[in-house]
Symmetry: C2
Subunit: 804 residues, 2 copies
């Protein structure tokens, strides 16, 4: 273990690193040429179209206004200026709630709310107690392993432990109180957010999975029939889903070819004396040399032909219609009813759930046969289990080989090498974003080969976890990210936290001893790592590379921007790890708390800045991740209680443990209560709310045509991209239909006819509503492919021909 001076040096290095990053950021961000790297959100929002700069050529790239260099830290107050409601409007509820985990507003909420009083109490009460009793809890002694070894555990007066137990109770109550208040707040915010949202397709839409295949009936027919029968008053229309995964792959490949063509054309324009050539073989290393521009043009042409064929196949082949559909209702109430009820006798058929918002859908997974989902889930959970627990084996092995001190004692001449490696590794780690790596560096010094293997494994871990989540078959990006995040959390919990603490046999010694290790971890990952986040080195480099080689038009430059987004699968688990560290060490080694507080403050600032100026969230889940955050903080509480229990047991203060044993039970009951009280707000949509919004809509905008509004909301984006060429066509189609016969009127007359039938139940089911629905909305949007030329996503646009 590190000595006190080691910690000091490490702190210094990390603070300097963080400061260097901040300085670099401050200088780079005010250069006009980097404007699109550091302020992409404003470009996307339309709030900015070009860097504000003087007229001359140099000023276009380099900031010559030296005054601005003096105020280079002013991004910090700027980041704090925006109010929470503005932030929700600007970046969505997800981002606002994400920041809330770090802190809220004036630095006086959540992360802070929890840890500020705890830090004060712990430092002022526990440190004196620990010092006076001269135990293991006393920080200074603990840092020196050899001293700890000599400490006699039994000489601690057991009465002292009651202070720790009392504080554990106090902290638990405080944290639970804060958690309750914040769950309440967030749930209210979510409901308010949902209530204030304008009309959105997902409010009216339900995703139906496992539509049964009846021979002789198309999926669309079954859907129509089923919902007309069982939701006669509220069913509006549906959008079939096509298996366009192969088509999408072709589109991606074609885009890549187009990029190469653009690159070569740009090259030719700049050096028009020589046409660019390339070899046709593998990676352009061998084969016949051909003219690049002609080659790519030819390739693209061939691709276009294939794509047209594939598109025809998608549209014509009935097999490409998946047994999944997006079913829309006339009211939010109707959708809420359908989403929350069981439809069919066989509970594996006609599975309904709220549709994710269109941009949140992970289209590939809609093609997964529903029956395989159970098996997929089983396999993935076994794999995650194996991954989480077998990662420990190499780690334990490496750890068992030697530790830093052990090695030093054996070979003291290695010390400078080790230290150099440590700091070199730190810097590499931060730059590459391998925050986790540092956790293992004590082991890595001693054996570089296993270290390298670990490094690679750790680097690809988030990718592996994301792939695993995708295999599980979730259909929303937000769900995928939450699932990956959960897996990462389990990994960290077992391998980083419990692995470090439990592998050494005696908990009593290992928890306090590991404090120094975690202090280093917080400094490297939390301080320097976060500072690296704001610098955005990777997007910076990529943007400039793209800018240099591929950007021709303003639109290309637009596409070269990579705003990124909050990486929930990585940040949420590490955030939860900090909560865990703070909660566990609050009673055991309170000196860790200021480091954590520092992390929360700094990360809050940085992420606030990034969310306001950089990130562009792909979807809006309405803070759906909150229940996970909540329950994992509860888990941290229980872990801390159990560890304290173990600690006291090893200290032969076992008679005081029954006192502490009640605490986990109470904490878990509290969690149950919260789950019962607040979680429904994140999973279901109350009918009361749905009805309220429906009525409001009805009074404010009685004439809106919902069918038109919903018509192409749930179209695979790959079709949408080609729609632009035929958009005019589609619009004509819609208008034509609307002129012919308004759906709304028709439905009303239909329904009122039906209601003249004698007695309850009065749902209209007898007189054929078939015609009405067919006239009511353009059937081709829903499912009918009889005239594919009407389609928005008719790929090879042939204007004048496709219109009939």
């Amino acid at each position: 273990m590190a000595t006190l001076s080691d910690i000091g040096v490490s702190a210094l290095i990390n603070i300097l690193t963080a400061f260097a990053f901040l300085l670099a950021f401050a200088v780079l961000r005010i250069q006009p040429v980097n404007d699109r790297v550091y302020l992409p959100k404003w470009y996307i929002n339309g709030g900015r179209s070009s860097p504000r700069s003087g007229g001359n050529f140099v000023a276009k790239f380099v900031n010559l206004d030296f005054k601005t260099y003096l105020t280079f830290l002013n991004w910090m107050p700027q980041a704090l200026k925006m109010s929470e409601s503005e932030l929700i409007n600007h970046a969505g509820l997800d981002s606002a709630i994400f920041l809330r985990i770090y802190s809220l507003g004036c630095f006086l909420s959540y992360g802070f709310k929890i840890f500020v009083p705890i830090t004060v109490v712990a430092l002022f009460i526990l440190i004196p107690v620990n010092v006076s009793s001269g135990t293991l809890f006393f920080l200074r002694k603990e840092l020196v392993v050899s001293d700890i070894d000599k400490l006699s555990i039994s000489n601690v007066p057991p009465v002292q432990f009651f202070v720790h137990i009392g504080l554990e109770y106090l902290f638990t109550i405080w944290i639970c109180y804060m958690l309750y208040k914040d769950y309440d707040n967030v749930a209210t915010m979510r409901l308010r957010f949902l209530a204030s949202q304008r009309r959105r397709a997902e409010q009216f839409t339900v995703v139906v999975r496992n539509v049964p295949q009846i021979s002789g009936h198309s999926v669309s027919d079954s859907l129509d029939q089923f919902f007309k029968t069982n939701h006669p008053d509220t069913y509006l229309c549906h959008q079939a889903v096509y298996n366009a995964n192969k088509f999408a792959k072709l589109v991606r490949k074609r885009d890549r070819l187009q990029n190469w063509l653009d690159y070569n054309q740009l090259k030719f324009e700049r050096h028009s004396e020589k046409r660019p050539t390339k070899k046709t073989g593998f990676l352009g290393l061998w084969g016949k040399r051909v003219d690049s521009i002609d080659f790519y043009k030819q390739q693209i042409k061939e691709f276009d032909k294939n794509m047209a064929l594939e598109r025809q196949k998608v549209l014509k082949d009935t097999k490409s219609i998946l047994p999944v559909a997006f079913v829309s209702f006339k009211s939010r109430w109707g959708a809420a009813v359908c989403a929350q009820t069981q439809q069919s006798k066989n509970p594996t058929l006609w599975l309904t759930n709220w549709a994710p918002e269109p941009r949140d859908i992970y289209w590939q997974n809609l093609a997964i046969p529903f029956l395989s989902l159970t098996i997929r889930k089983l396999i993935i959970s076994l794999s995650v289990f194996a991954l989480v627990f077998f990662y420990m084996i190499p780690i334990t092995f490496v750890q068992s080989l030697a530790n830093l001190e052990g090695l030093e004692r054996v070979a003291p001449f290695l010390r400078p090498v080790i230290e150099l490696t440590l700091y070199y590794e730190n810097i590499i780690t931060i730059i590459a974003g391998l925050e986790l790596l540092i956790l293992f560096d004590q082991r890595i010094y001693t054996s570089f080969l296993p270290g390298l293997a670990l490094k690679i494994l750790l680097y690809i871990l988030p990718t592996i976890l994301m792939i695993m989540s995708k295999i599980e078959g979730h259909i929303a990006l937000s769900t995928l990210e939450r699932r990956a995040s959960a897996k990462y959390y389990y990994f960290m919990l077992v391998n980083v936290f419990l692995g470090s603490i439990l592998i050494p046999r005696t908990i009593g010694v290992s928890i306090p001893m590991k404090a120094t290790f975690f202090i280093t971890y917080i400094m490297v990952d939390g301080w320097a790592g976060i500072a690296g986040e704001i610098l955005r080195l990777k997007p910076l480099v990529i943007f400039h590379l793209k800018n240099m080689f591929m950007v021709k038009s303003e639109r290309d430059r637009e596409q070269a921007m990579d705003p990124g987004s909050v990486d929930y699968p990585e940040t949420l688990p590490s955030l939860q790890l900090y909560f865990l560290l703070g909660i566990v060490y609050a009673v055991v080694t309170p000196i860790l708390l200021p480091f954590i507080l520092n992390f929360f403050a700094f990360a809050y600032l940085v992420y606030r800045h990034q969310i306001i100026n950089v990130y562009n969230q792909q979807y809006e889940s309405g803070a759906a991740f909150w229940p996970h955050v909540h329950s994992r903080i509860i888990a941290s509480l229980v872990i801390s209680q159990l560890l304290l229990l173990g600690l006291l047991n090893t200290k032969e203060a076992a008679n005081s443990t029954p006192l502490l044993a009640i605490l986990p039970i109470l904490t878990l009951s509290f969690n149950q209560y919260c789950k019962h009280r607040f979680e429904p707000a994140f999973r279901r949509y109350p009918l009361e709310e749905a009805m309220k919004k429906d009525i409001m809509d009805q009074t404010t905008e009685p004439d809106v045509n919902l069918t038109t509004f919903l018509a192409d909301a749930y179209l695979h984006p790959i079709f949408r991209s080609f729609e632009e060429e035929e958009l005019e066509e589609v619009r004509v189609d819609k208008v034509r239909v609307d002129k012919n016969q308004s759906y709304g009127d028709n439905a009303q007359s239909q329904t009122s006819d039906d209601h003249s039938s004698p007695s309850p139940p009065h749902h209209p089911t007898t007189s054929a509503p078939q015609d009405v629905y067919h006239h009511g909305f353009p059937p081709q949007y829903a499912y009918n492919f009889s005239s594919p030329t009407h389609y928005g996503y008719h790929y090879e646009a042939e204007p004048g021909n496709s219109r009939d």
Copy 2:
């Protein structure tokens, strides 16, 4: 442990006991005087009104037809005659499915389906293997403890264990396959049963809990307003719930007094020379001597006065209206929607769920404030945990004192005493229904005092568990019984099964050794105990006592009958224990299997007879207990796999354990799949089914007045009992309302008006539907207490006065 001859003697005694009971039953049942004890179900069904017998006086009480004595075992084929569909009509689905657990139809299903092939395979494969390898598995040696002690475990060739592992796989697959098929069958039967049920109140009704109290609004007003807003198309009416617990208690007390009065009057009629007297003091032991008839008449009069007051309080006091209501809908679809969706923003308010059928409601618990339920559940689960695990402490203590052999060795002269005690205890146990007691008899012989304490504890255990379930606050009797049953199962699992097996340290020795113990258990509880069930000694005695002292009229005799019902909280757990025993010992000690098979066959016969002729089920839950049965058999499988795993480990066949370790995971996944696939059929009601039934109703009986049908369905039965006197009044009321204005017409015109409004969502919410509902059904049935004399349950009937 018992030796082989001990087992033989025990078997003989138990078989003789069982036979004696059967003989007694055969003789007693054909005596006309016992007709109402052994055939009450037919009296209740109306299929029988008096015993068929000859004319003379003696023949009224004793069967003189000696031919019938010769065919005294013919109840067995009779019990098998009834087909399953007839059985469902006769006794309900619950009973039919309950029998299905034992076996089905021609002895070839479920219990049998599972164990017949397993027994055959196990006996023919395992016994030879065990014999040839000469291991612990070999039955004969195992029975003699001293021989077992000498057995060397390591001399077993590990290859032999692969036979056991293979069979464990085979059995698991077979059981899972049977379970799957039967879950499927039962789910289908349930849905078919629900679909074939005629119109019932609970199909249209939802119970709403935690209706928020808004000051200035009555509960009824809030209810009406909320459901008219949020279920405008389907809401029909609601029935408020009154806190009549105190009133019900008074009624019960009055009934008791009435019984005493009847008894005394009867006594006086028979011995008219002397008026009966009693002392007024405690238990009639001291105090002033008074005339009994006058005393009870006086008491009843006072009670009637108090009850009238209390009734007024219930009706007038707004505080007696609970925040609970039964809300009825115009269609099953509407009720299904409401029951399955979240109503309010605050998920702890407006909690909806399917209403239990009226006779299934446990009215007392409706008065429990909803907020206290969480705490109640917590407290009860802690108590159950304590109960289950602290029961073990005295048992272990008693067990540690001595065991049978130990005692015998020390004091051989005690042997006859011990054996006498054993068989005396057995008989006592069977008669008193203390089946569980026998489990502990080995310990009880050695120390009678702790044994007595245990006996008392065990005797009151089911009562304790039922009280605990009641405290938990479930509102349906069926749920209460299922919960009590679950608790009893946990108790048996931990104390009877695991307690016996795990308390001795080495599993490897204890599982096979305990086989003899469980064989005895099966014989005592399963054979003799079941035979005791058919004899119905307790109801027999009580019926004749009542008949002698209290029965005056035919109606009194009707009430003196105690048909009883299947005691699910006790029989289901013990049934599950037999499954557990069979599954665990199938591989370890297959000789146990024939005993279990025998039990299933015999119990099936007996219960089939009882269900057809005796039991009168209080409620019909539609086999809602099945998911529990299923999951507990799965639990048995997993336990058996884990125990085999432990067994092989102790046998140093550890290298074969990974093979077995996958099995529990697969089994649990199978359970997950089944849960996902079938459980919804037991918890929810699919909209498809609801709609189908609605449409069918609409076409077959379009003119039915649902309001009349539902009006008093969910009235507290305590009010109902007085209704008979005023039934005429109520009927007039209903007819009057129906003549005035049909609800159906009114609602229709209302709805069709609304549908002319322009666009979706089209739920009528604007024009006041208040009036419609008020005219539509007699408001006093729903909530309005303005004219209490209209009430059916107006207690002190004053005909001519109450009609206005």
